[in-house]
């Protein structure tokens, strides 16, 4: 099957993608598996077919604007290449999806480690997306790559947040810098950076309180945190991950936009992709704001955090084409 089989022909590639598929299994079965049906059952490429495609992508939370653009691109290709058979759309859809995400760029979402000293990674996002859990998972991952890791309990607001991080610290075997609940997050972070430097730690992961992007004061607090990190590391390039819940709808776009006005978001962690939600909003975020996805959360275990790979993601969405 054309492009698709070309992409996933290598064995190791497929084995890697398989893990994605398991996480996204329910995702596929719920709605997107019908894509094959639709293409097979349609006799011609017409408005009816396009509106069915539109439905599929909107149901994946990709969002009206991006879906309209996406469908328009497909239409163009159909027109210029004089495509007639619906089943031929399959390759075009996958192809356009790549294009939508890649935008002719080479996206490198590996963590940009600071070669000469401490690497700081800041986690931000609205409430309940899974920041603390993602930090635990990422700490585990980085530690297994042979680096020394420290965590900073910068969420001093939510009840139990500090201890939640401490539990992860114990599980992973990583030190957690914390102060009592209610203290100034900037001061916790200041201390953590100082300690991490003294102990020559490689990577410091910083948790922050969940904040809705329309709360001015909380966004100002984040701005302050940002300044402290910049000042204390003499280093403008640190990673800031925006954690987004896969069940999030169109508000994800507003989150990405407003958060990136305050901090320089370098990547997105898409959590809870093991549910039935498709997390399509990240495609809209990439399309409109250019922010790539760095990691995906695929379960509750420490090992359930994977580097995002657009091929795997698309494979997860459409792999029924192989079977």
């Amino acid at each position: 099957m054309g492009l698709f089989s070309k992409l996933f022909s290598s064995k190791e590639k497929r084995a890697k993608a398989e893990k994605f598929k398991i996480g996204m299994m329910k995702t596929r079965n719920q709605a997107l598996s019908s894509l094959k049906d639709i293409l097979e059952k349609s006799k011609t490429i017409d408005e009816d077919l396009f509106s069915k495609l539109e439905e599929i992508f909107i149901m994946a939370d990709i969002g009206v604007d991006t879906v309209v653009e996406f469908i328009e691109n497909i239409r163009q290709v159909v027109k210029t290449n004089k495509v007639e058979k619906p089943i031929d759309l399959e390759n075009i859809i996958v192809d356009q999806m790549f294009e939508l995400y890649l935008k002719n760029e080479i996206i490198n979402t590996n963590i940009r480690y600071n070669k000469t000293g401490l690497t700081v990674i800041l986690f931000v996002g609205v409430n309940g997306t899974g920041k603390t859990t993602s930090i635990g998972k990422l700490a585990y991952k980085i530690k297994n790559e042979g680096k020394t890791v420290m965590m900073a309990a910068g969420d001093t607001f939510r009840a139990g947040a500090i201890n939640q991080l401490k539990v992860f610290g114990e599980r992973v075997g990583v030190e957690v810098v914390a102060k009592e609940a209610g203290s100034d997050p900037s001061s916790v972070i200041f201390d953590a950076i100082k300690q991490a430097k003294e102990k020559q730690i490689d990577v410091l992961l910083i948790d922050t309180a969940g904040r809705l992007q329309n709360k001015k004061n909380l966004m100002m607090e984040l701005d302050k945190i940002n300044r402290i990190i910049r000042r204390e590391t003499n280093n403008d390039t640190f990673e800031t991950y925006l954690v987004i819940d896969a069940t999030t709808g169109q508000n994800g776009l507003s989150q990405a936009q407003i958060f990136s006005e305050v901090t320089d978001i370098t990547g997105i962690i898409l959590t809870k992709l093991d549910g039935t939600a498709k997390g399509g909003i990240v495609l809209a975020i990439r399309n409109k704001l250019g922010i790539p996805i760095s990691f995906v959360g695929l379960g509750e275990k420490l090992t359930d955090l994977e580097y995002f790979d657009i091929e795997d993601y698309i494979y997860g969405l459409f792999s029924d084409f192989f079977e």
């Binding site: 609205v126 409430n127 009840a159 139990g160 947040a161 201890n163 939640q164 169109q250 776009l253 507003s254």
Partner: protein, 462 residues
């Protein structure tokens, strides 16, 4: 972002549709396209949107267009009315029994169950005088128990916990404990779970069986997208939900999930979480949510004001008066008060299609209305009835100025304003003498065109 485009498109559609008395299929289709996009952008489920717009289309066809509205606005009105009906017309009460009431909190991870459990306990204690016990049955998430304990401490509400014992055991013991210690409200905080996780769904079913709760409340993040339907349906099928709580509604999300859940499961939304502080929970008002989801607030408030606030008879007599040319200060005062009743003057003008751009109108701020009222109030009865009196006497004008505390210039401006209005009215009356009603509609829509001058008409003929 997208919303701005939408308003723009919407305004375009409004402008194209004017001057009809009944809704045609065309009007409805045109507006429905915008309504559909608006609902999708608000995260209402695709299938729900489709069903809903089809239903409304059938309903709207042939509907009479209300005075003061144009077809586009009329469609929006119908959509909003139906949306409100669908969301439920009034707030739904909690089902609290006389003696021990059990409330079970369920939902996905990160929806806000623990915080909401605390908020709800506090709310019911305050409003229904119950003695609440919080039960920590989330044994999986690290520090979940401690989170509930902290919330309990902040509210001075006891928390029952047994560490990481089996949740089934915890809830059984908790109920015994509550009965022994005369608690009459038990709120059980459970672990966040994916609706497709069979083991975890089995667990929550067992908990429900053991505790036999009066309320099983699904906590849903207001930012949830298309998947809200799957989640609510599965939880409802497993547990027979009695209600929903929509959390994080203080964000800038439009909250279309609320509509999807309501339409697909019929489960009412009972509360809304509106902030991080523990008293920030409100009874959910479905009628307010309808307009938030539809996202056409400006148009809706105009419709509301146009249909409710202006007494039609009053407006009519004003109109006749104005067009007779005998427009005096009493009429002006009435007119001002009418506008004032409708709300912020500049706001109203902006809402009227086409008026927003009129630069002149911006200069009339809301304070001006008060000044005008003060000036007119300083006139004698005779002066108000007969504008000529002020026109002729500067000492009268000076007296009015010092009486109202405004400058003579301002008084003069009011005088010339009255004069201009009277003239304009006479001209307009000549424009379309057959139909006073039409005139009123034109006024409301801001599409009023002054009659062509004789010279212009002559030009047109050639």
């Amino acid at each position: 972002m997208a919303f701005e485009n939408l308003t723009g498109r919407f305004q375009m559609a409004l402008r194209r549709l004017t001057g009809k008395s009944r809704l045609t299929e065309n009007d409805i289709d045109e507006m429905m396209r915008e309504v559909r996009l608006s609902l999708l952008e608000a995260d209402v489920n695709y299938k729900v949107v489709k069903e809903f717009t089809d239903e409304v289309k059938a309903l709207a066809y042939g509907e009479k267009i209300l005075k003061g509205l144009n077809p586009g606005q009329q469609v929006v009105k119908i959509v909003n009315d139906e949306l409100t009906k669908l969301m439920g017309e009034k707030a739904e009460e909690l089902n609290l029994s006389e003696d021990l009431t059990v409330i079970l909190m369920v939902g996905l991870q990160g929806a806000g169950k623990t915080t909401t459990a605390g908020k709800l306990a506090n709310y019911i204690r305050k409003n229904n005088g119950k003695k609440p016990l919080l039960v920590a049955a989330d044994i999986y998430r690290p520090a979940a128990i401690e989170q509930l304990q902290t919330v309990g401490k902040q509210l001075d509400i006891e928390v029952f916990e047994m560490g990481t014992a089996k949740p089934e055991t915890i809830v059984k013991q908790a109920l015994d404990y509550a009965r022994k210690n005369l608690f009459d409200l038990v709120i059980i905080d459970t672990a966040g779970r994916l609706h497709i996780d069979e083991t975890m769904m089995e667990e929550i079913k067992n908990i429900a069986k053991i505790t036999n709760p009066e309320e099983i409340l699904l906590t849903v993040d207001a930012m949830t997208g298309q998947d809200a339907v799957n989640v609510a349906e599965t939880f409802n099928a497993a547990l027979k939900l009695t209600g929903c709580i929509l959390t994080k509604l203080d964000g800038d999300t439009r909250g279309g999930a609320a509509l999807s859940i309501r339409k697909v499961t019929g489960v009412p939304i009972k509360f809304a979480g509106t902030g991080e502080k523990l008293h920030e929970i409100e009874v959910f008002h479905p009628e307010r949510m309808a307009s938030r989801i539809l996202g056409m607030g400006d148009v809706l408030s105009l419709i509301e004001k146009a249909t409710e606030e202006i007494d039609e008879a009053e407006a009519m007599s004003m109109m006749e008066k104005m067009m007779s040319g005998n427009f005096n200060y009493n009429d002006m005062l009435k007119q001002m008060r009418m506008i004032k009743r409708m709300g912020k003057f500049s706001g109203i003008l902006k809402m009227l299609p086409g008026m927003g751009q009129m630069a002149d109108m911006d200069k009339i701020d809301d304070k001006q209305l008060i000044y005008i009222e003060a000036i007119i109030s300083s006139m004698t009865k005779q002066e108000r009835k007969d504008p000529e009196l002020l026109n002729r006497s500067s000492s009268r004008r000076n007296r009015v100025a010092s009486g109202s505390g405004r400058s003579t210039t301002e008084v003069n401006r009011i005088i010339s304003m009255l004069d201009k209005q009277a003239k304009m009215m006479r001209r307009m009356a000549g424009m379309n003498p057959s139909n006073v009603e039409n005139m009123q509609e034109n006024l409301a829509q801001g599409t009023l065109q002054p009659r062509l001058s004789r010279a212009e008409r002559r030009k047109k003929k050639h």
